[in-house]
Amino acid sequence: MTVALVLLTLLVGAWLLAVIEAWLTTGRLRPVAPLLAGLSHLGRESILARKPDRLFFETAPVLLLVVAVLGAAVLPLAPDLVIADLATGALFLNAVLAYVLVSLIMAGWGPNGAYAMVGGWRFLGQLIAYSMLIVMPITATAMRAESLLNSAIVESQAGLWNIVYQPLGFVLFFIAAIALAFRSPFDLPTAPGELAGGVDAEYTGVRLAVLRLARLVMVITLSAATTVFFLGGWQGPLLPPWAWSLIKTLAVAVSMLLVGFYLPRIREADLLGWCWKLGIPLALLNILIVGLLILVVP
């Protein structure tokens, strides 16, 4: 039951996101468009590239989808609406998200094309940039909750949401989450204008449909994670807990889309430079501040 509800949430979220994305790019609001797009992908040929590493080529989209769903599995949408509230939930999320990289390397290597290959390896560089900015803000939230249980992290924000308690962490995590989901302005691995789709470039038909779905679900999962870690999760007045989770998650997801809509793609060198020279010191500062706050304010 819980599993079904979480999966349904992910799918509905992905659908809404696709509608909004199409609205932003084409200026038309068409609720059925994502469904039609999915259906038309099913009807199109699935072409295999010449001499692919077929194992990787086939596995990559599925792995990405699995990763996104597994990440969502440890995030509580309501006090009892969580597939597995692991004692190491916050760490588990990190662990799962690390496999996005694995999936992209497979997708880059598998189809045997230069654009895809460059895209896949680019993401490795991107990971070097963003990964610390995912881990460190989460660490700071876990410090406040004195637990790695995601539900405990939500409950620790009962008085004050983490977005207020540690705004620096929120900003860093939000940016890193966009980079992790490789959406514009961090869409270096796909980069339509530079690599003609990069890791996506050789996928068609059903495989492309899975890949696109996985990318949307990934955004939802990361938005849900942002909600859990920084926006007080299910907490809120009047509405039932799950509704608050859903509203906050979608709001974060849409704001991620909007950031990409209004910004050009970042330079890879700038991304690495800024993350290491600015982002990581700030993240450490955030941890320090939170530590002091915990000690000073009882």
């Binding site: 990787f56 692991l86 190491t88 662990a95 690390a98 990289l101 390397i105 990971l127 610390m132 690495l272």
Partner: protein, 188 residues
């Protein structure tokens, strides 16, 4: 207990299988990813043995580590795609012998030692994480700090070795960073 034995066995087999695959595939990326899955299976064994924190940590660390391994494989191998079908090994017989002897010794020790009484129940995961934290920042503080300093030193040393002489600004060794900090942070 049967369930535990089952999962330990399955993941153990997976770890061994992928481990063997590392040296049996000609494609270097496959080789690196096989190692990744082998290590991830080891992580799953930890989970099956109720060491949740360690298991998740292992699964997390290895993803990045082995992906970096993959890019280095591609860089440094003559035939990363494995199309040439060339043999990249030497002293095969000797190695097989050494491996077999090492494994046999370890196995016989495992089988013929008296391991003493077995503890049936492990502490629950939340408790473990908490206790590990106290251990790490209490009694084992020195060990923990030493590990942290070691990793920092290694990062700096590796970067220093890797960057070209008199050619600042180009840092290929940068790829090595990342693993250490993550561990320190995650283990807090």
């Amino acid at each position: 207990m049967v369930v535990q034995a089952f999962f330990v066995g399955v993941f153990g087999l997976a770890a061994i299988g992928f481990g063997v695959a590392v040296f049996r595939t000609a494609s270097m990326v496959r080789s690196a990813l096989a190692l990744l899955f082998s290590q991830a299976a080891v992580g799953c064994m930890f989970l099956a043995m109720q060491a949740e924190f360690l298991g998740v940590l292992q699964i997390m660390m290895m993803a990045t580590e082995m992906s970096i391994m993959a890019i280095f494989m591609v860089m440094f191998m003559m035939d990363p795609g494995g199309l040439g079908g060339m043999d990249m090994s030497h002293q095969k017989r000797f190695s097989i012998g050494a491996g077999a002897i090492a494994a046999a010794t370890a196995i016989s020790v495992a089988l013929f030692s008296d391991w003493g009484p077995i503890v049936a129940e492990a502490p629950d995961a939340a408790m473990q994480t908490r206790e590990l934290g106290f251990e790490m920042l209490g009694r084992s503080m020195l060990v923990f700090e030493t590990a942290a300093i070691t990793i920092l030193t290694a990062m700096i040393a590796a970067t220093a070795v890797a960057i070209p002489v008199r050619q600042p600004g180009v840092d290929t060794g940068k790829l090595d960073k990342g693993n250490g900090d993550k561990e320190q942070e995650a283990s807090k």
